[in-house]
Structures are given as structure tokens and as C-alpha cells.
């Protein structure tokens, strides 16, 4: 595991030495504060729209970071040829995949903590309450979501030639699931065979990433998700993450490096 932790450490260093995180965080802070400063009918207790905007920016930023960081990891190793001295050490390709995944995931997790602390401060300034458990659930589920996304992107980085095309395809895939994934069963019911079975099949196969999005519950104070459901959805996310990581390894194992 030394190799895995060493690799993940390098990825984390890369993230905080690049300017992406700082730019995204400053943008989030600025936009949220500008929205907060708007005078809305002389009412300074309105908070839900602020939480919604802040959470939307957090989701966009986290997705951008995950896609950007994960999509360039393995291609950059190959392009700069650092993969050669790396694999010339007692490091397997599975270690590389796992190390890159862990690095991206931990780096995104650290960034998420900063973002969620900011969200907490913004909402507390208006509501004067600290729904810590709600924020923790939202953070945790989003972090699991990012694990699945990072694993998908890592797999894409082995299949697609350019990091930009990989990031774009993965973005469309992830947004597609987030927007219509939940409704594919209803769309299937409106189709005739064989489309109905095909769409239903897709509905059951795709990772239902919308499970991890509890922004609605946080914004509208709808209370906590049951902890049992939280554990189940974490296992669901972990299973898909492992599936995509394993697929990444299978593709990477056969890939010629030169």
C-alpha cells in the first residue's frame, strides 16, 4: 500500500499547487456573497435561495475539480513518461489506478470540507442554526458521488485519447444520469417493445447518481435521510466505484505504454 499512498499524496499536492481549487472557491464565495448582499424586500431572513445557490456552486466546482483532476492523471503520466520510472519500481498498474483514484478522491474531499464550512457559515449568518448532521450527510453523499465519478473518469482516461474529450463525455454522462436517470423507468413505460425493455435495462444498470444529491432536503429543511439508507447508498456507491476501478485496471493492464 506504500505505493498507493505515495501516489495519492502526489495527486493531492498537485491539486493544491494548481490554482483550480482556489479559483473555484473564490468564485463560489464571491457569487454567494453578491447574491447575499442583494436587498430583497428588506427581509434579511431569506436563506433558502442562498443555500441553493451555494450548494449549486459547490456541486459545479466539485464536479469540475473531479473531472479535471481525474481525467489528466494517467494521460499525463504517459505523456510525460513518468509512468516508466514508476512502473520500473515494485508498483503494479492496479497500484497506479488505486493511488490515482485515492488521491483525486481525498483531494476532492478536502476541497468539499472547505466548501461545506463556507455553506455552514453563510446559512448560520441568516438562520442562526447549525444543522451539522444535515450538512454532514450532504457532504458525505456528495463525496461518495465523487468517488463514482472519479472512477468513471479514470476508466475514460484509458479509453479516450484526450483528457478534454474524456472530461466532456463523462460530464455529459454524469449530468444525463443526474437529470433523467430517475425518470428512465417512466420513459420506458411510455415506449413500446423492444425499446421499453432496453430503456428499463439501462435504468437498472446505470449508477443512480441522483441518490447522492440531497440538496433539496438541505435547502428545504426536509430533515435527515435515514442512516440505514445512508449506509445502503454508501455501499451502492462503493460497489459502482469498485466496478469502474476494476474496469479501469482491466483496460490499463492491456494498454501498451509506448
Amino acid at each position: 500500500m506504500n505505493a498507493v499512498f505515495a501516489l495519492s499524496n502526489v495527486v493531492i499536492k498537485e491539486l493544491y499547487r494548481r490554482k483550480d481549487f482556489y479559483v473555484l472557491f473564490i468564485l463560489t464565495v464571491l457569487i454567494t456573497l453578491v447574491m447575499a448582499s442583494a436587498s430583497l424586500f428588506n427581509d434579511d431572513k431569506i436563506v433558502r435561495y442562498l443555500k441553493e445557490i451555494c450548494l449549486l456552486l459547490i456541486w459545479i466546482s466539485a464536479l469540475a475539480m473531479a473531472l479535471g483532476t481525474a481525467s489528466r492523471q494517467i494521460p499525463a503520466e504517459r505523456e510525460n513518461r513518468t509512468i516508466f520510472p514508476l512502473l520500473a519500481k515494485p508498483v503494479t498498474r492496479w497500484h497506479v489506478v488505486l493511488g490515482k483514484f485515492l488521491g483525486c478522491w481525498l483531494a476532492c474531499g478536502l476541497a468539499l470540507v472547505v466548501f461545506y464550512v463556507f455553506l455552514g457559515l453563510v446559512s448560520a449568518s441568516r438562520e442562526h442554526t447549525w444543522p451539522v448532521l444535515n450538512y454532514f450527510q450532504a457532504f458525505w453523499l456528495q463525496w461518495i458521488f465523487l468517488a463514482v465519478v472519479i472512477a468513471i473518469v479514470l476508466w475514460g482516461s484509458i479509453i479516450f485519447a484526450a483528457p478534454s474529450s474524456n472530461a466532456t463525455i463523462c460530464l455529459v454522462f454524469v449530468l444525463g444520469i443526474l437529470i433523467v436517470g430517475r425518470y428512465l423507468n417512466q420513459i420506458a413505460l411510455q415506449q413500446s417493445e423492444p425499446m421499453r425493455s432496453i430503456i428499463y435495462g439501462i435504468y437498472f444498470i446505470i449508477p443512480h447518481l441522483e441518490f447522492f444529491d440531497v440538496r433539496d432536503l438541505v435547502v428545504h429543511d426536509r430533515g435527515l435521510v435515514g442512516w440505514g439508507a445512508c449506509v445502503l447508498v454508501t455501499l451502492y456507491g462503493a460497489a459502482y466505484t469498485l466496478f469502474f476501478l476494476f474496469a479501469t485496471w482491466l483496460s490499463f493492464r492491456r494498454k501498451a505504454l509506448n
Partner: protein
């Protein structure tokens, strides 16, 4: 040939740009609405902003339901007048219809059932005191994007004056709407309500409702098909106020108008008959005096 200094070339290019700008600026004013946009949103989005305005108006409705909202894929979902639902108290029948329209149905499979734990999947409204304030930012944004959408002003004003204790802000917003839509009978009616219910200024509210009625008639004559329900509301209010003031003849006049647009003309006719009786007895008592 020796080229002049690069700074001189830059200066020359800048002069050309400036001259062209002074010539083109008045021309572009004729090109469309965007060129004369008076707001940032209009300048950025042009007429496309109206789509966003509608989106934010719906967003206010979603907030009113605490995030619960049927999607376009949900079977039970039907178009309904968001503004009316957000504003008015419903009778049992309305509530039943509303529940039906908002129903997202039973879960269809285990993914559906499990997934419902992670989003707002039960129907509720912003009922607690002060909670309604949360819909206001989206209405404000909707009005910024599409000032010609009158629903936005009336809905926001309703909540501001009746649930949030902010009649001054409601009046300001309605007047802002009136400046953008000077012929809107809906805004005039809502403004009349504000004077009637919040300021208890009968004279001004009657004036405003009479003006609203005139605007309604103007639009009707112009073939713009104004809403009958609004006509009914205006005439009902006018009749009520006149009745309260003892102007029975005037009240009778408005009841007659109300009857034309009312969905329950028999009930209105009953009121007309009562008014006629009262008017007759009043005339008799006056003649006896």
C-alpha cells in the same frame, strides 16, 4: 519602406475604432431591443430571458411546495395556474384537484422507492409563519428577467402584504409592475386589495378597482381576451364595498356585472334579489320619512 513606430500604428488603429464606434452606435440602436437594453439581463439574454423568467417563477412554486414538485415525466402532472395556486385559498374541490395534479404516484420499482428518500417526495406547503418569504427571491428574479409578466408582481405582493406584514414593500413592487405594465387590471386589482385590506382606505381601493374594471373593458374591446375570473373578482369586490357603504344602487349595478362573468350566476342572482329587496324597503322607508 520604413514602418512608423509601433505605438503610432496602435494609436492609428485606436482612432479608427473610435471613429467607427461613433458612426455605428446610432445605427445599432435601430437593430433591435437588445441594443437599447435598459437592464443587464436584457442586454445579456435578449428576449431569451423570458424563458428564464418562467423557470424562476416555477422555482418559486417549487419553493412554495418545499421542493416537492412533479416532473414533466410524472404521469399525474398537469399544467395549472401556478399563480392562482400560490395565492388563493382553495376549497375542498380545488385542493383535491391540486393534490391530483401534484401527485407523483406510487413508486414503480425498488430504485424508485429507495430514491425517494433522497429528495422531497411528500407534498407540503410553506405554512409556518414567515416561511413564505423564501419564495420571494425567485419572484424578484423572475420580474427582473421579464417585467411584463404581471403574475410575478401580484403573487409577490399577496405574500408580502398578507403573510409577511410588508404592505409597503408590496406596494412598491406593485407600482414597479405598474410602471412596466400600465394597462394591467391584475396589478390594479391587487393594489386595490392592498389599500382595502392593509390600509383600510376604501376610497382609493374603489378608485383602483374601478380603474381596473375600465382597463379590463378596454382590453376586452381591443379583443385581447382578458381573464373572466379577474372581471368577476373586480366586480365582486366593488359590489361588496358599495354594499358596505350602503350604496345599494351602485352595489346592484356591480352585482349585475358580476353575474355576467360568474361561474355561479344563480348565487349572484340571489344576492341581486336580496339587494333589490333591501333597496325597495329602503325607498319605502325614505318615502315614509
Amino acid at each position: 519602406m520604413k514602418l512608423p513606430a509601433p505605438s503610432l500604428i496602435l494609436l492609428l488603429l485606436l482612432t479608427i475604432c473610435f471613429s467607427l464606434a461613433t458612426y455605428l452606435q446610432p445605427q445599432t440602436m435601430k437593430w433591435g431591443e437588445r441594443a437599447q437594453a435598459d437592464s443587464m439581463m436584457k442586454a445579456l439574454l435578449g428576449d431569451g430571458r423570458r424563458i428564464f423568467a418562467n423557470h424562476f417563477f416555477v422555482k418559486a412554486d417549487i419553493y412554495f411546495h418545499s421542493g416537492y414538485y412533479p416532473s414533466i415525466f410524472d404521469q399525474g402532472h398537469r399544467e395549472e395556474s401556478h399563480s392562482r395556486h400560490m395565492v388563493e385559498g382553495h376549497d375542498d374541490h380545488d385542493e383535491e384537484e391540486h393534490e391530483k395534479a401534484m401527485d407523483i404516484g406510487q413508486p414503480k420499482d425498488w430504485i424508485d422507492r429507495f430514491g425517494r428518500q433522497f429528495y422531497s417526495s411528500s407534498h407540503s406547503h410553506l405554512d409556518k409563519p414567515g416561511q413564505a418569504r423564501e419564495i420571494l427571491p425567485w419572484l424578484k428574479l423572475s420580474a427582473e428577467l421579464d417585467p411584463q409578466r404581471v403574475d410575478t408582481y401580484t403573487v409577490a405582493a399577496y405574500w408580502l402584504r398578507s403573510k409577511l406584514g410588508k404592505p409597503a414593500e408590496a406596494e412598491d413592487f406593485l407600482r414597479e409592475g405598474l410602471r412596466a405594465n400600465p394597462n394591467s387590471y391584475e396589478i390594479l386589482y391587487e393594489l386595490g386589495l392592498l389599500y382595502y385590506e392593509n390600509h383600510h382606505d376604501l376610497v382609493r381601493s374603489v378608485n383602483l378597482w374601478e380603474l381596473a374594471l375600465r382597463r379590463w373593458n378596454d382590453q376586452d374591446k381591443a379583443g385581447k381576451k382578458p381573464l373572466e375570473i379577474s372581471y368577476n373578482e373586480i366586480t365582486t369586490r366593488l359590489a361588496q364595498v358599495e354594499e358596505e357603504q350602503g350604496n345599494l344602487r351602485q352595489a346592484l349595478y356591480y352585482r349585475e356585472l358580476e353575474k355576467k362573468a360568474s361561474p355561479i350566476p344563480d348565487a349572484v342572482q340571489k344576492q341581486i334579489d336580496e339587494l333589490k329587496q333591501r333597496l325597495a324597503s329602503k325607498t319605502v322607508s325614505q318615502s315614509l320619512k
